[in-house]
């Protein structure tokens, strides 16, 4: 279980609180307008922002003081998910060994993941030689190889256009289902939340509200969500 226990985060004068939990394997969407604090919450979870107070617990273990790489989480940012000067094989290899001392078995795993993502044969290429969609898949390959129980997505693939984005999001959903990964997706797009998430957390006015079943929240939106969705 991922438990946010009386969590509070502060950035300058902005304060965000959250106090709820989700079971493992949940696909959760953090939904809200820009500047409401969705990304702040995600950065706090990932370990890029120190907690002002409260705890983050995963299966009962307090993660609050761990550096990002030691948390049971992998993260996809909005962009800059691949190092442009390294090849795909090296970019993916970093997930297995940050010193890039890769064994034959590691290379086999990289090839296997690339094949699963439809990127076979592209391992010697650099990101700039790939299409936007291929870059998105490669970034996904990196988090797959990290094989962490929680996957954080910060409005990923947003620059790719709606069709490609929705393709990649369903790929994430499939992969997460196969491995039982818990996914936290930050989005400002209600359509993403509807298509992807089992549960939705509304982030507004400095509070990340407790999660609600996706179908339920859209069937009967609370006033805050209704205001956000508009007429």
């Amino acid at each position: 279980m991922l438990h946010l226990d009386h969590l509070a985060l502060t950035v300058d004068n902005f304060r965000l609180t959250a106090n709820w939990s989700i079971p493992p394997g949940t696909k959760l969407a953090l939904l809200g307008g820009s500047g409401e604090g969705k990304s702040t919450l995600l950065m706090g979870l990932a370990g890029f922002l120190p907690l002002t107070s409260g705890r983050i617990l995963w299966q009962g273990r307090d993660l609050g003081h761990l550096p990002p790489a030691e948390r049971p989480m992998a993260i996809l940012f909005q962009d800059q998910n691949l190092f442009p000067h390294l090849t795909l094989a090296q970019n993916l290899g970093l997930a297995l060994n940050p010193r890039l001392r890769l064994t034959a078995a590691d290379h086999a795993r990289i090839a296997q993941v690339l094949e699963r993502l439809g990127l076979s044969g592209l391992s010697p290429r650099r990101p700039a030689d790939l299409s936007g969609g291929q870059q998105g898949r490669a970034a996904l390959g990196r988090v797959l190889l990290q094989a962490r129980p929680i996957l954080l997505l910060d409005e990923p693939f947003a620059a790719l256009g709606p069709a490609l984005k929705s393709d990649l999001l369903s790929l994430v959903a499939d992969l997460a289902a196969e491995t039982g990964t818990t996914v936290v997706l930050v989005t400002h797009d209600p359509a993403d939340a509807r298509r992807f998430a089992d549960q939705v957390v509304l982030v507004q006015g400095g509070v990340a509200a407790p999660p609600v079943e996706t179908d339920a929240i859209f069937a009967n939106p609370p006033p805050a969500l209704r205001a956000y969705l508009g007429p």
Binding site: P67, I75, N81, F83, L94, P98
Partner: protein
């Protein structure tokens, strides 16, 4: 969460720099206790400031028509000329002085020509020569800064002036740019002239043309008067620090890597073509002739250089590379730490060496270490260290913007996958920063290669660097050998620069 060891290393490094620079200043102040200023010292202070002021005024005043002419004319070789304008920054001062002597010296081309038509000879020694040499170095610098300024004026503004049919676009468009650009350029040049040692050493001298730096050198080298040297160095330090503090209030313009490729935005006025041709030709001749003279005079003597010159060249090479390695390492550590923490203190430490000249630092270190070691024993290490320090502010400024971009773009990703320490340096930092690192290493190596300052204070005969050999040869009037050694020096400096710069470019992704 941040890589704490980097911050600690950077902090220690900043402390070391501050100790070296400020500790030196303190040592100078405390050792100058017994000494008092003689009339000659007052005149050195006056001359230092006067020559710097005059040099600055001439460099800037001549740069305005030169940059303007270069801006609005297109001719074959224009790019090469602008590129050449960047060269004096890397040109060893002693080489330029030698070239100037060949043209304007006692038996130089100009005087031979004057004599043949029965006109009186001119002398390059004294104030006129010092100013001439400083203009030679700083006119190109000022021209490039102003060219940059002209190129940054949006084309729309010139078009607007044309549609409004303004009688003088200069007043409304170009004058404001000059008003914004010139003060910074002037201060940068003033600083360079304030601390230039070699020009005063070779072209100055005597009661009427001695700068503070030259007076320090003479006090140490000939009078063995450490107290007076300390006092003079402390005064020079104070003047420099005051000028730097003043300069910090202006944004110093970028002179290197100025863009050259903007399309023509000024319609060349037809009636001033002759003027522009004269300006560009004069500037080109002024810059090229002395260099050509060194080449022509030095080339035949190159195969016959004594072995000691080659030994000195080798010594200079390894000293330059060592100094560049130190400087680049320090700049990389500080730039990364500042990119991460935005610490004003670390930034200040990196820029601190600007407030001292190499000769002043060397004098201070010598006075501190004097009771414990012989000056020959520390001549080479102190020279390497001082040169590394003097390059640090330039390299830091070069690296910082790129380090900030690197941090903003990839720090989170690196943290997320646990890329740290040496692996991070190897797979992230070095590849991403290869270009500025190569350029910076090239700059530092070339500057160290051509430097003649501290080494002149301490070196015995077996420790001479190549610039010192050139100076000694020309001092002994063995001009052909001096020119050949100068040619070797300038070639090695530019080859070092080009190798590092190219290496950086090729290593960059």
């Amino acid at each position: 969460m941040a890589d704490r060891s980097l911050q600690i290393t950077a902090g220690l490094l900043a402390l070391l720099i501050a100790t070296l620079v400020l500790g030196t200043a303190l040592a100078l102040a405390s050792q100058s206790g017994g000494a008092s200023l003689r009339p000659a010292d007052w005149s050195a202070i006056r001359f230092t400031i006067t020559q710097a002021l005059i040099s600055t005024v001439f460099s800037c005043a001549l740069a305005v028509p030169t940059a303007r002419a270069l801006m609005r004319r297109r001719f074959p070789g224009r790019q090469a000329l602008i590129l050449l304008m960047g060269a004096p920054f890397l040109l060893p001062v002693i080489v330029a002085v030698l070239g100037l002597l060949t043209i304007y010296g006692r038996s130089g081309l100009l005087n031979v020509a004057l004599q043949s038509v029965g006109l009186p000879q001119i002398s390059i020694y004294g104030l006129a020569g010092v100013v001439l040499a400083h203009v030679f170095f700083n006119l190109p610098l000022a021209t490039r800064i102003l060219l940059n300024g002209w190129q940054s004026i949006p084309a729309e503004r010139f078009r607007l002036a044309e549609t409004l049919n303004l009688p003088s676009p200069f007043r409304h468009i170009e004058l404001p740019m000059l008003r914004a650009t010139l003060p910074g350029a002037a201060l940068a040049i003033f600083l360079v002239c304030l601390t230039s040692f070699v020009v005063a050493l070779t072209l100055g001298g005597g009661p009427r043309a001695t700068t503070l730096e030259l007076a320090i050198y003479q006090a140490l080298r000939f009078d063995f008067d450490a107290g007076r040297a300390a006092l003079l160095a402390a005064i020079q330090f104070a003047i420099c620090a005051a000028a730097v503090t003043l300069a910090a209030r202006f944004t110093l313009p970028p002179a290197l890597g100025a863009g050259l490729d903007r399309t023509l935005i000024l319609h060349p006025p037809k009636h001033r073509t002759a003027f522009d041709v004269v300006v560009i030709t004069t500037a080109a001749l002024f810059l090229l002739l002395p260099l050509a003279a060194v080449l022509i005079e030095g080339l035949p003597a190159l195969p016959h250089l004594p072995a000691a010159v080659w030994k000195a060249a080798l010594r200079s090479l390894w000293m330059a590379v060592t100094s560049a390695a130190l400087s680049v390492t320090a700049a990389l550590i500080l730039a990364q730490a500042v990119a991460r923490s935005r610490s004003r203190l670390l930034e200040l430490a990196a820029m601190l060496p600007l407030s001292a000249s190499g000769l002043v630092l060397g004098t201070g270190l010598f006075l501190i270490l004097r009771p414990h070691v012989r000056s020959e024993d520390i001549a080479l290490p102190v020279t390497i260290l001082v040169n590394a320090l003097m390059s640090l502010p330039f390299l830091f400024r070069l690296l910082l913007p790129e380090a900030i971009v690197l941090h903003a773009s990839y720090d989170r990703l690196a943290q997320a996958i646990g890329l740290q320490g040496r692996a991070r340096l190897r797979y992230l930092t070095l590849p991403r920063l290869a270009r500025p690192l190569g350029l910076g290493a090239g700059l530092a190596a070339a500057l160290a290669m051509g430097d003649l300052g501290v080494i002149a204070l301490f070196a015995n005969n077996d420790q001479a660097t190549l610039p010192l050999v050139v100076q000694r040869l020309s001092g002994a009037y063995r001009m052909e050998q001096a020119a050949a050694a100068a040619l070797l020096l300038v070639t090695l400096s530019f080859v070092l620069f080009a190798l590092f710069d190219l290496g950086g470019r090729r290593a960059a992704p």
